[in-house]
Symmetry: C2
Amino acid sequence: MIKKYVFGTPFDTEAMVAQIPAESDAVPYFCTDTSDGLRFTLELESSDAIYGLGESVRGINKRGYLYKGFCSDDPNQTETTNSLYGAHNFMVIEQKERIFGVFFDCPSLISFDVAFTYFDKLIVSTENKNINVYIIDGSSAYEIIREFRNAIGMSYIPPMWAFGYTQSRWSYADRDSVRRVVKGHRDLNIPLDAVYLDIDYMERFKDFTVDSKAFGDLEEFANEMKEQNIRLVPIIDAGVKIEDGYDVYEEGVENGYFCTDKDGKPFEACVWPGMTHFPDFLNPDARLWFGKKYKILTDMGIEGFWNDMNEPAIFYSQNSVDNAHKLVKKYADKEELTLKEFEELKGYFGSRQNCDEDYSGFYHNTPQGRYCHKDLHNLYGYNMTRSAAEGLAATEPHKRFLLFSRASYIGMHRYSGIWTGDNHSWWSHILAELRVLPGLNMCGFLYVGADLGGFGCECTRDLLLRWLSLGIFTPLMRNHAACGTRNQECYQFENPQDFKHIIDLRYRLIPYIYSEYMKAALNGDMMFKPLAFEYPEDETARHTEDQLLLGNEVMIAPVYTQNALGRYVYLPEDMTAVRMKEGNLSFEDMKKGHHFVEIPENEVVFFIRAGKAIPLCKSAESTTELNKESLELIGSGNEYTLYADDGISKDYTNPENYRKLTK
Amino acid sequence: MIKKYVFGTPFDTEAMVAQIPAESDAVPYFCTDTSDGLRFTLELESSDAIYGLGESVRGINKRGYLYKGFCSDDPNQTETTNSLYGAHNFMVIEQKERIFGVFFDCPSLISFDVAFTYFDKLIVSTENKNINVYIIDGSSAYEIIREFRNAIGMSYIPPMWAFGYTQSRWSYADRDSVRRVVKGHRDLNIPLDAVYLDIDYMERFKDFTVDSKAFGDLEEFANEMKEQNIRLVPIIDAGVKIEDGYDVYEEGVENGYFCTDKDGKPFEACVWPGMTHFPDFLNPDARLWFGKKYKILTDMGIEGFWNDMNEPAIFYSQNSVDNAHKLVKKYADKEELTLKEFEELKGYFGSRQNCDEDYSGFYHNTPQGRYCHKDLHNLYGYNMTRSAAEGLAATEPHKRFLLFSRASYIGMHRYSGIWTGDNHSWWSHILAELRVLPGLNMCGFLYVGADLGGFGCECTRDLLLRWLSLGIFTPLMRNHAACGTRNQECYQFENPQDFKHIIDLRYRLIPYIYSEYMKAALNGDMMFKPLAFEYPEDETARHTEDQLLLGNEVMIAPVYTQNALGRYVYLPEDMTAVRMKEGNLSFEDMKKGHHFVEIPENEVVFFIRAGKAIPLCKSAESTTELNKESLELIGSGNEYTLYADDGISKDYTNPENYRKLTK
């Protein structure tokens, strides 16, 4: 049962697809204070748990910290990062006497003080007095989440090839670099389905252009790659370069499609291309215009995109540059610079990136009126990606494209997936990825994955092996690294056959992973589940935050510490351990309870629940070559209902897509 | 057997106290390359382990990353931080065919590529061609470490009161603030022995001055505190404020006691007081002069100090300010600032802190000649703290003072302890503290501890409870937090009796902790030992990196994850689990093997080894009030040999200090 409570006159974020009438009484369970912004307080007992908040740091149970719903470009994702790239304001709150869900549909900054200031209080607060709050009652976490997911609409479904292993780097500079990456994998028979093109494939970072010196005729090159069953996936950034003669820029200015400053002039901000304008994705005309530009690249044979820098990230605005110039002028004539003046200058330059002042300095023209960006901040990346999805659908309505975004808000899950942004080559970020998966699934984001091996910092062989051992289970499986970091393609390390064996296992699991993905998407279920949701009566399971259930049959428990012999695993029921060693599988029946499982870094262990079975195929070098028909069932059960389709069209509801497999 | 290998003409760091003749043959085990700086390469097998490197990030086994020996003021201690505040270049290398120790006595930057670039190589490299390398052969890690410790001299021994619980904050602003802290503890009977005074106790951050407006007559106030069994522990920073009329500044200039720039003028750098000069602690006259200044404060009844900012930290030099002014002048007259110019300015201001250019820009006048700071960088904090220790000893030769430092190098362990610098309120920093302890002990640093609750970021109640549950075992037990962060004194949180019970347990353990500390110091042993050293044949113990042995009887295994029910503990032999719950102890005999141990956040569990016993006293509000005579033995053993002395004089070797306790 989902109920809607309206405060003020909220902006319609279109997070919801369901039409829900507004209640006239007060929000239940919470104590509501409207005197200064909005403030919702819930009393907690020590055994209460709070799940959700999508892309956020810390544990599966969010207790004990302060989170902020505000799409943030901050690559330093530590325990004390309050906000990440997405703003996902949905929680399931499990209390002694009840369990319920709550969604704060707030397009601007919102704070979640989850037993942080007071150990027995959840305090949700926002300056914005115009928001919708939804309360979902139900008898279990799963039931509440299914109801919420139905209300927000079906999750994005990518093409099947997007479940293959993919390789990225900022940036493969030219065709030959990409060819070397493909050859590096193919020579060692390491499966690979796609190579990403980061910003340098463009001509001076201009969206929908291609640097022809480096990439020649992209259509030709895309075809060359496709002959090797490799897709090219280019990046699209939010900012449109200000450059005379650049059609996207000129059309945008001419038609008023860019965000404007307080005087109504296009707002100028510096990102990778230098000074840019931001398309006003909250203006439906601008959204459609930009979305249709993707056709420039799909016409060249491109079938997938990643949308980046769409929080939007701002290095600095023209306003900042002008103010810096004023400061500089002010101090130039002094005989010497005092310490205070030096510090003022240093402070000014150091505080410009993604600053409040800039987010308050531009505006959107929406059908609901002109709004300051700050008040709709969380909707920007969402609507950029909606723009792409709608543009692509307008071009080819029956075809699935790969699409994922960095910034996001609930609602965007209908249009694309997300990657979890600029992480680091940190062991702690393996665990962080595992822990974020259920929260993302709760909020509708099913096509998800982290930069395997880590984006920033230096990756080591053992880190990549261990991270891939989690990554083989996530729908988006991409190895990505930042400019200036060590090369981290699998073949760059010693004994690359260890990587091949792990990625081969992924390909053997693709029929299962795809099937469970589709079931989760079509039924509004989670693909990755906390043990707490499946075994709510089991106190140990409720507190296990480094293992997950994958679909209805599998439990994963990857190693996330360096130089480890293995790890402790808690089995909440009897299970079959599946061990991959040098490409071969072996099986061991294990009893419910605590176990220490030895897992060398070149082996993978996962678990199949009692009485369940999962399908495996043979591996291949790409999803295209995968024989998904010849399946073997493993596990102690005797049957599995497989979802399978052609992987590219949108005929999801055909009953023939389901097939019962038996041993 | 310790052997010395000399490259070039090394600066005598005085890390060693033993006179060791130079060998004439090549360094064994390593392949040495002297063509470009120095480069020592050791082939590794996958089972080889590398221990040591003192204050450094990551695990107890250092395999898999790149560490740098270079004292660094970088408060963001993450997994990929290459260098911390101390430079401790000693390792024990355990290979299949041998175990040996190696100490690279290098006062400048040195890199340890521990199976990072190549998974089967340890590569140690330095630009400096003038260093001593020591190789220590032996039959066990303990034997090698004892030999090394004997060669570097006995570790610092603090007064007994320094084993009490202590409270700090940047900064308690005045007498009343300190009084409130003491009252906060005393009112709730939470034991407390000292309160630290951070930089604001000084008059405009000038060393050896007191802001009399805020602190009145410090002698009077120190006495008032001492009546409550509280010691005040002021900070001393490395930089001496440039201010006419300030005697320390004027004496330093007059006598040439400050580091000089290339032209021989005192080098100017900005730190907390604004522009300062750095005392040239490598000049023995300057060292003695500065060290004797501590008497100004000991004459007021002060008995302990912490030396800070002595890497030395540099916010920016006068040179940077001048260059910034030139840049500003250069751009002021332009019609507008281009993006490139904005970025140049931003880049300049953002890269000044602790920059290479500054460390290359000043000089030391040492008895061994004039040296550029960069070439002796790692010795600066070491010699500042040696200055303090020698100054204090000159004043009161028979009395122990509390003294610890932020920057350090092996050799400094003879003069003081260290705290592990500016950490964060991160759960991962609990584990980081546990893991760094054995490495510090190996290098002679026994009086050690981290800022409990975390220095930067916001502490939560549960984080502090869990951190204290480790902190009760470390010699230095200090709760410290940065300016601007949430108050984190125990009494600031709900249910403060939970904190009291945990700190009471510390006080009950003080006779044991002190006894084990003294044995480790007097015998050249480690107080905190990896399980790998004690159970080298046990593969699981060798890979256990989140438990430690404390002294000869105890094993600790604190909880370091949020919202945890407890944790897994590996017992490498039968042990007695001791559980503290609401101030009461209970005991459980546990068998060798893997266990999941439930540990609520207000309880503490530790382990006593089979056949061993440890003494406990009753708790008290301070060490002064502790009845250390009335001891009870707990554990399955029947006797314990206690070391006890008067806790303040230096008569360590008196045989009467040892007492056999029996049940």
